[in-house]
Amino acid sequence: MSPSAPILAVRDLRVGFATEGGLVQAVDGVNFELRPGEVLAIVGESGSGKSVTAQTIIGLTRSSNARIEGSVELDGEELIDASDATMRQLRGERIGMVFQDPMTSFNPVYRIGSQIVEAIRAHRGDVGKDEARARVVELFDSVGIPNAERRVDDYPHEFSGGMRQRAMIAMALALEPEVLIADEPTTALDVTIQAQILALLGELNRKRDLATILITHDLGVVAEVADRVLVMYAGKVVEKGTLDEIFYDPQHPYTWGLLGSLTRLDRPRPKRLPQISGSPPSLLALPDGCAFRPRCPHEFAKCTELPDLRERITDAPGHCDRCWLDPEEKRAKRQVEGQIGLEAPA
C-alpha cells in the first residue's frame, strides 16, 4: 500500500431513500480510504449499494427523499454537507465519473467533442472553444481513439461501444481529476473490448497517479486491475481486503459464491457453473442478523445476530469480514465442493 495520505475517505456512509414501502437503506455503514495511484474495486450484485455509494460521493443521490449520513472527505474537505455549488464545481474537476452504458451516456443530439468541450468550459470559463477542442483531440489520442482530429466532430451514434467508452473516459479525465469513479465501465461491452478498456484504465491510473474506484459485479474485471477489494451485500460491506487476500483467502461465504461463479479455464469444466442460490433480499424486509443468511449453505444459530466487520484472521491486518464462522472452519468449508473459493497459494 502506498504510504501517501488518502485522497478520499468515506466513513460510516449511510444512504436511505424514503419510498412508499418505507425507508430503503441502500447503503448501510460503508467505510474506506483511497490513496492516489490506488484502484479500489467495489464488488456486489445489483442492488448491493455499490452504485449508490459512488453516486453519493459526487452528490448525485441528493434529493428530497434521500437520507444521507456519515462522512465523505475529499482531501480533508467534507462533501456530505457541502453546498450544491461546491459539489458542482468538484464534479468533473476533481472527481471524474465513467458510467456503465456508453450507448446512452452521451446526449445523442450533440457531437461527442462538443460534449467534452462543454465539460471543460463548465469549469474553465477562460478556455476558448478552439483551445478546448484541441485539448479534446489530445485526450482522444491519449485514450487510444484513432483519427482523433476527425472523430471529435462525430455524433455518439457514429461511435462504436468501445470507442464511446474511451470517449467517456476522455471526458472524465478532461480536467485531470484526482479521483476517477468508474461505475461498471465494461459491463455493456463485449469481452475483447472489456480487456482493452481495463488495460486503458490501469495505464491511466499508473501514469497519472489517479485514485480509482472501480465498481463492478465481475470479479474477472477486479482481478485485472484492482489493488484492494470491497465486497458489498444488501448495502453493507461484507468483506474487504487486498486483491490477493480476497482471491486466495476469501472469508465470507458470499465472496466464495462470487468467486465460485467464475468460469475457470484452468480447471476441468464443471457440469453446471456453481451459482449462489436465491436472490438478494428486499431492502425493505432484510432478515435479522446476517443479510446473506437465507442464501448461505453454512448458516448456523449465531447468524441471527449481525456480525460486525472486523479482522478475524490474525496474520492479515486490514482483511475484514462479517461472518461468524471461525477462519479455520471457513478454510475447510469453502473447499468442500472443490469449486468455491480458491486454494491458498502454494
Binding site: 456503465q100 445523442p108 462543454e118 463548465a122
Partner: protein
Amino acid sequence: MGRFVVRRLFGMVAVLFAVSVIVFMIFNVIPNSNPAQALAGKNATPTLVKSIEEEWGFDNSLPEQYVTMMKKVFTGELTSYKPRIPVDEQIFERIPATLSLSIGAGIIWLFFGLLLGYLSALRAGGWLDRLLTGVAVAGISIPVFLIAPVLIYFLTYKVEIFPNAQYVPLTEDPWEWLTHLILPWFTLAILSIGFYSRVLRSNMLDVMNEDYVRTARAKGLSERKVMTRHVLRNSLIPIITLFGLDFGATIAGTAIITEVLYSLDGVGSYAAEAATKFELPPIMGVTLYGAFFVVFINALVDIVYAYLDPRVRLGETASA
C-alpha cells in the same frame, strides 16, 4: 439535403393527387348529388337539367370529369355553381384572415405551452406543478364554443377592452389587426397550450431519467445548463412533430369554429359554407388548399427534424 427535399416534394404531389381523387370519388358516390338538378332549381324542366348537364360536363364519364376539373384547378378556372365565382379568388381573398389567426395562435400556444410545461417539469410534484396541471386540464376540457362567447361577453361587451369581431387586414391597420385578433388567438390556442404543456412536462420527466442527463450533472454543469441544453433540447424533438401536425390541421380546418364565432371571414368559414351547399368545386378547392398546408408543413417539420436530431440525418444519407 437536396435529394431529401426533392423526395419530399414528390411525396407532397403524390399525397395531393390522392386527396383530390378521394374527394372526387366521395362526392360522386354520395347519393343525391346531381349538381345539375340543384343548379337548375326546384321547378326545372328535364330539358333544362339536361342542357346544364351538357354545359358543365356532368354527363361525361367520371375520369373525364376528374381530368376536366383538375385542369380547371391548375388554370384557376374552378368556379362554384351558385353564384358563379372563381374558387381560387374566394380562397385567396380569405387566406390572410386564416393565416393571421392560425400563425398568431400557433405562436401563442407554442410559447405558453412550452413555458408552462417547462415550469411544471422543473417543479414536478410541487404546488406550481399542481396548479399548472389544473390550468392545463381546464384549457383542454373547455370547448372553444364556450370559451369564445364567454370571452366576447366579458371582454368586449361588459368591459370594452377588445373590439368586436371582424377581420381587419394587417396592411390596412396593424393595431386594429392586432386588437381584433387577440381574443380569437387565445380562443384557438387555449386547448393546445394545455395539451403542449402536458406533453412537454412528461417528455422532460422522461428525459431527466436518461443516462446522458446524469452524465451532464457528473461533468459539473450547472443545473440550468443541464435543464436547458440537455433536458429541454431533447424534449423538444417530439414537440416539433406534434406542432407540425397540429399547425397544418389548424390552417386546414380546426380554425373553422373560431373563425365562425368571431365572424372572421377566413377560408374556414368558406369551407363550412361550401360543405353545406354541397358544391364540388369549392369543396375540392378548399380540401386541396388544406391538404397542401398539412403536407407542406410536415415536409418543413421533417427538414427541421433532421437538423435537430443527427440520427435522422444519418438515416437519410444511408437510404439516399
